[in-house]
């Protein structure tokens, strides 16, 4: 812990010039003003590296895959040297008992100083037997490591919301981590996977400023999750103009019109894809011609289909969305009214009154 980030970076052959460039990139990425470049630089020069314990529960490792592909090669180097990644069973050289010993070691040496980063989530069914790490249910490892963590980061939609393994009917009872760690403020970085720059940006912020970034109601960092894909989408002008892809092979698709009608969930998805892009800003789903599937939103697997913008409602025995169902209800109401009107005509309720009073009530 005596080493600062800057020292580690210099020892890895990163020049001061490159270091300052990185600080600029991060200040921009975190939506901070140019003045903050020097704050970040100073912080990284003086603050010790933060130990990070990165746990893996029920997951597919796409978060790790995304993280190690952080677009800016420099950013990746810097971030990996900025934090002291002391446990990550996917990336670390150690294995078995040796690896598990690292956890106890860090917890003993740096209580309440290390960051717990969680990829995936614990299944609660069958006493957590659906995910065993080091011979014990993952739930136990998670609670144990969280007990002395300074901050808890939920990487990806699994840890944040549950994601695919928590999709209905959720046989393993996979549960997002904030529900099993009620005493912790969990920073959610949802996405399947989350954007690499968002992940590194959050780590940078915590390291540089020694505190958590500002979070929204859901516990997501505002700097990356306060706008929808739709708000910054380069196809938004087509949406407003009324220009849509109607079919995947039509003129609109060739011209790159808005994908709203083919189910794009951009208008209901909070993420930074349309700003940062993926793979060094090369592209993102909409730019590649496919609608957003809303992977960073709660239970997006159950809000399908991906190619319709209204979700199907379950529990009615048929696959129908809100409008199809509503139209049926309205039709039923109309039929009911018509039948009642016909019955009224046949039965003529209150007829004797009307005949008696027809002479005096000419107002209608």
């Amino acid at each position: 812990m005596s080493e600062t980030v800057y020292e580690v970076m210099r020892s890895q052959g990163i020049t001061r010039r490159s270091f300052l460039k990185f600080c600029s990139v991060m200040a921009a990425g975190l939506s901070l003003g140019p003045a903050y470049v020097y704050d970040i630089a100073r912080a990284l020069e003086t603050r010790p590296r933060v130990p990070v314990l990165w746990l893996h529960g029920l997951e597919c490792t796409c978060c790790s895959e995304s993280f190690i592909r952080s677009s800016h090669p420099l950013a990746k180097d810097v971030v990996l040297s900025m934090i002291s990644l002391d446990y990550d069973d996917t990336l670390m050289a150690a294995a078995g008992f040796q690896a598990e010993a690292c956890i106890e070691d860090i917890m003993k040496k740096y209580p309440n100083e290390y960051i717990l980063a969680v990829e995936g989530n614990p299944p609660l069914n069958e006493d957590g037997m659906y995910c065993i790490v080091g011979g014990k249910p993952f739930l136990e490892q998670l609670k144990h490591v969280a007990s002395k963590a300074k901050a808890v980061i939920a990487w990806g939609s699994c840890a944040s919301w549950g994601c695919v393994q928590a999709a209905k009917p959720n046989p393993t009872q996979a549960t997002p981590i904030h529900k099993v760690l009620p005493d912790h403020q969990v920073i959610k970085i949802p996405g399947c996977p989350p954007i690499a720059e968002v992940m590194t940006g959050v780590i940078t912020y915590i390291t540089a400023f020694g505190r958590l970034p500002e979070l929204d109601r859901e516990g997501r960092p505002k700097m990356f999750y306060s706008q929808r894909i739709h708000d910054k989408c380069y196809r938004r002008p087509n949406f407003d103009a009324g220009q849509y892809v109607e079919h995947w092979d039509d003129e609109g698709a060739r011209k790159g019109y808005c994908l709203y009608k083919v189910g794009c969930k951009g208008p209901v998805t909070y993420n930074a894809c349309s700003t940062t892009g993926w793979n060094n800003g090369v592209s993102f789903p909409i730019k590649s011609g496919h609608g957003c599937i809303g992977c960073s939103e709660k239970d997006f697997w159950d809000k399908g289909p991906f190619y319709k913008h209204l979700s199907n409602l379950t529990g009615f025995g048929v696959e129908a969305d809100a409008d199809e169902l509503g139209l049926i209800a309205l039709g039923a109401a109309g039929a009911g009214v018509a039948a009642h009107a016909a019955l009224t005509e046949i039965r003529k309720p209150g007829k004797e009154d009307k005949e008696a009073s027809s002479g005096e009530s000419g107002h209608k």
Partner: protein, 233 residues
Amino acid sequence: MEGKEGHFTFAPEGETGTCYVYEGPVRLWHWINAGSIVVLAATGLLIAHPFPSVMGEASHHFLMGDVRFVHFVAAWLFGGGFLVRLLWSLVGNEYSRELFHLPLGDGAWWSSLAYEIRWNLFLEKRARKYYGHNPLAQLAMFIFFVLGSVFLILTGGALYAEGLGEGSWADHLFGWLTPLVGQPQDLRTLHHLGMWFILVFVVGHIYMAIREDIVGRQTSVSTMVGGFRIFRK
């Protein structure tokens, strides 16, 4: 025809006079509200199922933008009108309170409700007369219209907050709802269902109002135009 403030009664069997029921602001609100519902439903459906695509440069068109604008203007009339109507119930006459207040503790109200249900099932020969709303209409208005409107205003406000963004007034006012119902996509689904809920009410409301005018013994549609309820023998 003086007010029966405090407890519910229906009009006497022999009532054949007139009664001033709906005050000016209530009538004005009713028709503005009716118009806004029509516009909201039409533009809402167009937002959900937009017109066939227009071709050409995006900068030459603003079709969806205009449809959404009209939806928002109508939403202000609907939501703002609802608020004004709620405030009017504090200062208006006793009938103006019936929309928001069900006299659930009143036995006479419940027995009249039962009577109205039987009347609509053709089990009663004679229509009862009411100065204000009959209990069945009142109950339907409360459940479908009042609760439905609150639901639509809240979900619509939360959807509007998505556009205005984090920290906006709409976000402060309605944003809390989004995590409560799930996520923005759920908000959308619920807002759609809310619209159909109101539209089902609209069908029943219009039908019942016209039917009461014809087979009942008091005016209904014209009362909402002129304000006076005229009773027949």
